[in-house]
């Protein structure tokens, strides 16, 4: 890769190769610099909306209009965050241009945590059990059933959602945690597929040795397979949690009630209830920011795992 010649000038892709040797020619350096600039621009575009969200969330909504293009918070205040977290009084809220209506933020946060955690634990565990049956056990019709699971990847969620709604309603589970969690709790085709691929790659030797020692399948699964798959299971759990946390369509159908409503649904409702004239932009951005914080924390802690998992799914 050190011998790339004739860079195309002005072409954003026309850069040098990674690991360029020392003393690259000036023209090539120019192309490379330009490429870095474009990449830097992409990063700025990816991040700028987050900074704007933060800047607005720390502004006074009443005076926000005075300087709409200032990059810094207008009339810096913790007010919007206090409004969202419920620590501001109605008077304080209204003084800063909030509606004064209370947002049961902590309830929604609790709901999001309960729902996402339940989905993650159930889905990863049950999918792992099934993936083991597909990867290691021999039983009639195995490949046909696996094919059916994979086909389900192709069925658009909206198609199953209407009948699922009817089912949950008939079971009397509307506006309950089990109703919101159920369709994602037992499996997703992706989770089964992901784990099966990994289990297939585990060497059989340890299992066979354990089997000779008289260990049963459950013992092998819990003592050998699960510990050896800790890394992909954690990755899958993170992805599942983020997806569950971000899910909007399904909980908005079955979880509109305040007591079970997750953050996404609450935020969308908050926006719809916002008056068209003089909306509480600062409050809205503060709420969005707080709703995004858990995902960002997961990202900070497990960014590398997440990035690498995306590449794995791309290679399937």
């Amino acid at each position: 890769m050190t011998a790339v010649v004739q860079p195309a000038t002005g072409d954003p892709a026309g850069s040098g190769a990674p690991g360029d040797g020392p003393g690259g020619r000036p023209r090539r350096s120019a192309g490379r610099l330009l490429a870095w600039l474009v990449l830097f621009l992409f990063i700025v575009i990816s991040l700028a909306p987050f900074l704007w969200m933060l800047r607005t969330a720390l502004s006074n909504n009443r005076t926000l209009f005075t300087d709409p293009d200032s990059p810094l918070p207008i009339d810096f205040t913790w007010g919007p965050l206090e409004r969202v977290l419920g620590t501001a009084t109605t008077e304080e809220a209204q003084a800063e241009g909030g509606s004064g209506a209370s947002l049961e933020f902590w309830t929604y946060l609790r709901n999001s945590v309960i729902i996402s955690t339940a989905i993650t634990v159930g889905q990863v565990f049950f999918s792992a059990l099934a993936a083991y049956a597909f990867a290691r056990l021999r039983w009639p019709g195995r490949d046909k059933v696996f094919f059916a699971f994979i086909t389900a990847l192709m069925v658009p969620p909206v198609f199953a959602m209407l009948p699922n709604f009817v089912l949950i309603k008939n079971l009397g589970l509307l506006n309950t945690y089990p109703g919101i969690v159920a369709p994602f709790f037992f499996m997703t085709p992706f989770a089964v597929f992901f784990l099966r691929q990994f289990f297939l790659g585990i060497s059989r030797e340890m299992e066979e040795a354990a089997m000779i020692d008289g260990a049963g399948y459950f013992r092998i699964f819990f003592r050998i397979i699960l510990p050896m798959s800790a890394a992909p299971m954690v990755t899958l759990a993170i992805l599942t949690f983020i997806n569950a946390w971000n899910e909007y369509f399904w909980p908005q159908l079955v979880g509109q009630d305040e007591s079970v409503r997750p953050l996404t649904v609450a935020l969308a409702a908050f926006r719809t209830a916002t008056p068209q004239t003089g909306p509480d932009w600062a409050g809205l951005m503060a709420a969005s920011l707080v709703a995004a914080v858990p995902t960002m924390l997961l990202f900070l802690a497990f960014g590398r795992k997440i990035v690498n998992s995306i590449q794995f799914t791309g290679m399937k």
Binding site: A8, W52, A130, P163, I212, W245, A292, M296, G314, M315
Partner: protein, 304 residues
Amino acid sequence: MAVARGVRERETAPRWRGRETGVALIFLAPALLGFIAFYAWPTVRGVYLSFTDYDLLTAPDFSGLDNYRRLLTDDVFWNSLWVTLKYVVLNIGVQTVVALALAVLLHRLTRSTVIRGLILLPYLISNVVVALVWYWMADYNLGIINQMLGWVGIDAIGFFGDEAWAIPTIAGINVWRHMGYTALLIFAGLQTINRDVYEAAAVDGAGEFRIFFRITLPLLRPVLALVLVLTVIGSWQIFDTVAVTTQGGPVDATRVIQYYIFDQAFTRFDFGYASAISVVLFLILAGVAFAQLKLLRAGESDQS
């Protein structure tokens, strides 16, 4: 190895096989329950409901092809198909080109996981939050985008309020959310291309442009086809952004197909009709996937 083989042979003996089936059933039971209850059965039921008149309160009433006949003359339905198609073309067109450029840049410049992570970040934030942030940034009066247009002397644009702008705006928002994710999928594909191919081309004196169009792109075709299957199918199901921002308006400019299904089912309680529209959406997606997988095959045979 010989020992392993011996064990495997013993496993496949009938006594073992019978036991394994029982064990497999236990391992499989929860996932199978979920699969049947929330994937297989609803799919069958969805097709059935599309042939009925059903308002959720009384039992479904079989009505034959009535719902499908009604579709043929429903202008709002045809409009929703058209609007969704416009969205998909804009969204996927721009997103794929941008992501491809981004992936090539990443591949050529850096192995940094941090940079890849930063670019992926928008994808990890929920549609609802993303929609709200852009709803604010693209606000007619105070939004920063219109302020910036003002700096260069362009009149403010009603990004969500103008019929001509609403769909491009929503498409743009989702390009922003998905471009990093799509770029990483393509990046993974780029990494599978053998470096020798590039070196050979470079030795032959091929320029960057030539290398990209003559080598990278053809070799990337199977990966691109797979990425397109994933992104196009996702794109047809655009809902969250519309629900949070325009809710189908102005007029019906953003009444995309999934929003129309939602509308029919949950504001008009016409579940039969909504199911019929879902069946049509399902058929479109199956067609799209089938066509693209054919393309993928073509891409594979190119290389052999």
